[in-house]
Amino acid sequence: MITLTVNGECYRYEGPLTLQAFLEHWSAGTRMVAVLNDEVISRQKVGDIILREGDRIELLSLAGGG
């Protein structure tokens, strides 16, 4: 098991887990941007990244209103 902090809250996941698998599990649509440990990760790279204990993930989407 690994512990991830997602949008500021802790979750336990069965490892190993790629960022892509995490995003699918989270049902994060293509409008969501993943920020892993303060770095923006492009969609093309999420399959290559294996999440590690203590990783911080932020899921952001652009708000268009004003």
Binding site: V33, V35, D38, E39, L60, A63, G64, G65, G66
Partner: protein
């Protein structure tokens, strides 16, 4: 810089009494120029507070006419202004609050052609627009002319904002690479006070930038969830693959 007259000393007494601002800071504000793009939900509170603080020149750029459904959140306008251009009614509201402020009304829709020329005349840009395309356009034009800006966006009960110093801090396009698909459904929300909260933060950032105060909201996206009443500051590093920053020159050093 001119000395403050008696009326200015009284009007701005409370902020002059802050050692971080003082008379010198007030003179700096009076000599400063801020451009608000959009005088709707975000631009109304931002404009009111910047005018109240005595930012010497406020530019207002908006091409819209006031509609009844705007008034639930766009507090610079009144029911009597329906059918008038928003820059006209907002200019009147801000001037009524503080006649000391020079207001430039730009009744236009921002385009890639007119943006750089418009931005050049201002020290700080506030993105108070209501659509993805304008937000991307502002990020690109600010980058091209090297102007700092406050980005913000609103959705339902959520607001987000970040301050960008182009070429030095993470920019909007470092975070959001692609324009989200357009939404064909009728807009839902926002709760009117949500842009009120975020617009006042944008005004705070403009004042801090102009006076060199504190720590700006750079390399961070502040998110606000009104239902949970929660603010979160999400750290974001500059993205080496960013379409705008990739070609950026290194920051100027003294």
């Amino acid at each position: 810089m001119k000395t403050l007259n008696k009326e200015q000393c009284q009007r701005y007494a409370r902020q002059i009494s802050l050692p971080e601002i003082g008379e010198d800071g007030q003179k700096k504000l009076l000599a400063s120029r801020v451009l608000l793009i959009g005088v709707g939900g975000l631009g109304s509170p931002a404009g009111y507070y910047l005018a109240a603080a005595g930012v010497g020149t406020l530019g207002l750029a908006d091409g819209d006419v006031l509609e009844l459904s705007n008034l639930q959140r766009q507090i610079a306008h009144t029911t009597a202004d329906l059918g008038r251009s928003k820059v006209e009614s907002a200019a009147r509201a801000f001037a009524a609050l503080n006649p000391d402020v020079q207001i430039n009304a730009h009744n236009l829709r921002l385009t890639a052609e007119n943006a750089p020329g418009l931005f050049k005349d201002y020290d700080f840009i506030i993105d108070a627009t209501d659509n993805f395309e304008s937000k991307f356009l502002i990020a690109g034009a600010c980058h091209a002319v090297g102007k700092p800006y406050s980005h913000a966006g609103i959705l339902k009960f959520i607001g987000q904002t970040m301050t960008v110093i182009p070429g030095q801090t993470a920019c909007l396009r470092c975070v959001f690479d692609e324009l989200p698909p357009g939404n064909k459904e009728p807009p839902q929300g926002p709760l009117g006070v949500v842009p009120g909260v975020i617009g006042t933060i944008q005004a705070t950032e403009a004042i801090k930038y102009l006076l060199g105060l504190g720590a700006l909201l750079t390399n961070r996206l502040l998110t606000y969830d009104a239902l949970r009443l929660e603010f979160r500051s999400v750290r974001i590093n500059r993205n080496p693959a960013c379409c705008l920053c990739r070609g950026a020159r290194p920051p100027m050093t003294e």
